[in-house]
């Protein structure tokens, strides 16, 4: 058996587990448990947080989805719900909250501002939290109705139920480069291009 390592760049990773009857049954059980006991880490910064509170309260009641336990410590949370606009001053904080959450973890970007910067196309606002942390589900709206957020949660549950232990990359941390990005800087500039009613304002204006 050739035990010597091939030169760098020629290593092909073989999945630790290939899907078979046992793993798919185990996946089903694990995903069923995970999807139905998501503990949210609420990161509410603006009016979306009010709709999030309405979603958590009696009429809409996300405890029906196994989310009744708001985890105000990121270390016991499963899903980060960023409800509201994220100014640059909060960027290192949401990054730290996200880094403190243990795997498995997911993120929901709730509302137009968290997803794209929304109307706040200004010097102070992060143009979409996906430039700071990886996001699983984007919920549109300004702010989204509780029905909208619940639909986003159900989409996330659907996504979780499709995960498999045969693909360990799902649970890998997205590491940042030495500049602190996990997406290339050109990509951040590209997705922060002006849109909507602000196309008339250019950087030089």
């Amino acid at each position: 058996m050739g035990l010597t390592l091939p030169p760098d760049g020629e290593v092909t990773e073989v999945p630790a587990v290939s899907p078979n009857w046992l793993t798919t049954r185990l996946d089903f059980l694990v995903n069923w448990g995970r999807a139905n006991s998501l503990w949210p880490m609420p990161f509410g910064t603006a009016c979306c947080a009010i709709e999030f509170m309405a979603t958590a309260a009696g009429r809409f009641d996300i405890s029906r989805f196994g989310m009744e336990r708001m985890s105000f410590s990121p270390r016991q949370a499963d899903v980060l719900i960023c409800a509201g606009r994220l100014p640059f001053k909060l960027a290192p904080i949401i990054r730290r909250v996200w880094d403190q959450m243990p795997q498995p973890k997911w993120a929901i970007s709730m509302g137009a501002c968290a997803s794209t910067g929304g109307i706040f196309d200004t010097y102070a606002m992060v143009q979409g939290i996906d430039t700071i942390i990886p996001v699983d589900v984007y919920v549109p709206g300004c702010p989204p109705r509780p029905e909208g957020l619940m639909y986003g949660i159900m989409l996330l549950q659907k996504k979780i139920k499709g995960e498999t232990m045969a693909d360990p990359s799902l649970r890998q941390e997205l590491l940042v480069n030495e500049q602190g990005f996990f997406v290339p800087p050109e990509k951040i500039d590209e997705i922060s291009e002006p849109f909507g009613n602000s196309v008339h304002q250019t950087r030089s204006a």
Binding site: F88, K89, A91, R96, Y123, G180
Partner: protein, 209 residues
């Protein structure tokens, strides 16, 4: 029915009698009396307004500044004063030539509440308040390098690219937004972890790489 022109505050005449040409002009806008004063005597005038019997403007409602779109028009630092006992208001404005360094004397020694208000004007407009005990940025973080956002020559999206803004924001240390004084008020310093104590004692406020 004839509209009655709103009267100028009697404090303006008293100011003219006491300071003469340091009172540049006065006007009434929306019923509020506004008086423009020279920057070099502004602290003296504000102290007089606070301490003179009959004026006693003992409450500083707000300090702010206005940068007009016309680049030749001076930037104005505006003090909204109120006398709680007399129930009277007065707005004092200091025009500052934008070609010169923007600096006025701090009024924290007169009204303690001016502390954060002047820090905000410093942060947003770049006006230096001479004699302020702790003139730091208050809204933007300490390593913010793009300038003063409410100046008219500041582009709405900032001076840097989004990627550079994101990089600098992520490089900021979120634990270091408080001065030692603020932490000692909360008596929180002793409960901080050792490494955080060390960073704060070194005055480290995040770094740009």
């Amino acid at each position: 029915m004839t509209a009655v022109a709103p009267a100028l505050s009697p404090s303006v005449d008293a100011l003219r009698a006491a300071f003469g040409s340091a009172v540049l002009r006065a006007a009434v806008s929306c019923g509020d009396s506004i008086v423009w004063v020279a920057a070099d005597r502004a602290h003296e005038i504000l102290a007089w307004l606070k301490n003179t019997p009959g004026q006693t403007f003992n409450y500083l409602t707000d300090v702010t500044a206005v940068d007009y779109r016309d680049p030749d028009r001076p930037l104005e630092v505006s003090y909204q004063l109120r006398s709680l006992s007399r129930k009277a208001d007065l707005r004092v404005k200091i025009p500052l030539d934008k070609a010169q360094p923007l600096a006025v004397d701090s009024v924290v020694d007169l009204w303690r509440g001016a502390d954060w208000l002047e820090r905000e004007v410093f942060d947003m407009f770049g006006v230096t308040f001479t004699g302020h005990p702790d003139l730091r940025r208050i809204l933007m973080w300490d390593t913010y390098a793009e300038g003063h956002p409410l100046r008219k020559d500041f582009p709405l999206r900032g001076n840097f690219t989004r990627a550079e803004q994101t990089r600098q924001a992520l490089a900021a240390n979120p634990e270091a937004h408080y001065s030692m004084e603020e932490l000692s008020i909360a008596d929180a310093f002793n409960e901080l972890p050792e490494d955080m104590k060390r960073r704060l004692l070194d005055g480290q406020r995040g770094e740009l790489r």
